[in-house]
Amino acid sequence: MADSQSRGPDLSQPEPRSLKAFAASLYHAERADNYFKFLHNFSEEELARFLQGLLLQVGDAIDDGNTDALTRFVQRGQVAAYAPTQTAAPFRPDFPDSPFAPMRKPLREATIALFSSGAIYRDDQDPYYPAELTYEQAVRDVRKARERIPSVRVIPAETPEERLCVGHVAYDIRAAQKDINVIFPLTRFRELAQEGSIGALAQRNYSYHGLTNIPRLMQESAPQWAQMLKDDGVDAVFLTAG
């Protein structure tokens, strides 16, 4: 029996008082976990149902050697958890209109820029949180992120993947650290340009930290960044959100 040798719960952490308290501790708190922080949106009963379902899916994934159903289960949980929170607000208004610019060139002739709110930066650029904080501290200090003035990083088209970093404090960045193309597909767009599916990847691509001062983003930064893209002469922009 090797149970005593296996990694068990971290007993140095305080005992949760309830499922709700445990879920709350995942949300930018003492057990911060951006993968499962959505659990804090669930009621006690919803939490119990989700966790029981998760355990069933984990058991099946182990037995079957296939995590597809487990992935789908967690994804459905995220969708359910966020549905009630996405309501109109002063800086998330229910816009009555939608600005529209038609494509003026075929894709195979178009220069396309990447633009992501995923907080991507190059290893010679500053991350999006203060230098005096570690990433883990910045995650727990998430409210400050909403006050920070938006800033953008320019990512040149030829940047090697190994020089790209990710510093977003409000989504789980482990997948992006393993493969930046899950949110900032620079390599995939270079491949599309190489095969002729698009004309070119823009020389200058952009990222910012999506959790930011939204009034400043709407009123100042976004129009300035749009002008930068015009000055770059790009034909279209591919945007991703974390």
Partner: protein, 82 residues
């Protein structure tokens, strides 16, 4: 989620855009109404899918580019189906 604000500003400047949002943030995109949105059934932080799934990433990108090229009005929102 705020990328919709940026997309709206870029469209206003005359440059066409396409946004890739995960399904959990679809309600947000429905409010912000960027011109073209592809909704993917993926996890937060992974809008194009899981790491090292090159074919999956390319399939999502091609679907987004098709939306970019074919949209004749806005807003258009499509659900990505693998």
């Amino acid at each position: 989620m705020t990328v919709g604000h940026v997309a709206r500003a870029i469209e206003t400047a005359g440059i066409p855009t396409v946004c890739v949002y995960i399904e959990a943030f679809r309600p947000d995109a429905q409010l912000l109404k960027p011109a073209r949105t592809l909704i993917t059934p993926h996890l937060m932080g992974r809008p194009l899918g899981l790491p090292h799934r090159r074919d999956q990433q390319l399939t999502v990108i091609r679907a987004a580019l098709k939306l970019l090229e074919t949209a004749d009005h806005a807003p258009i929102m499509k659900l990505f189906t693998p």
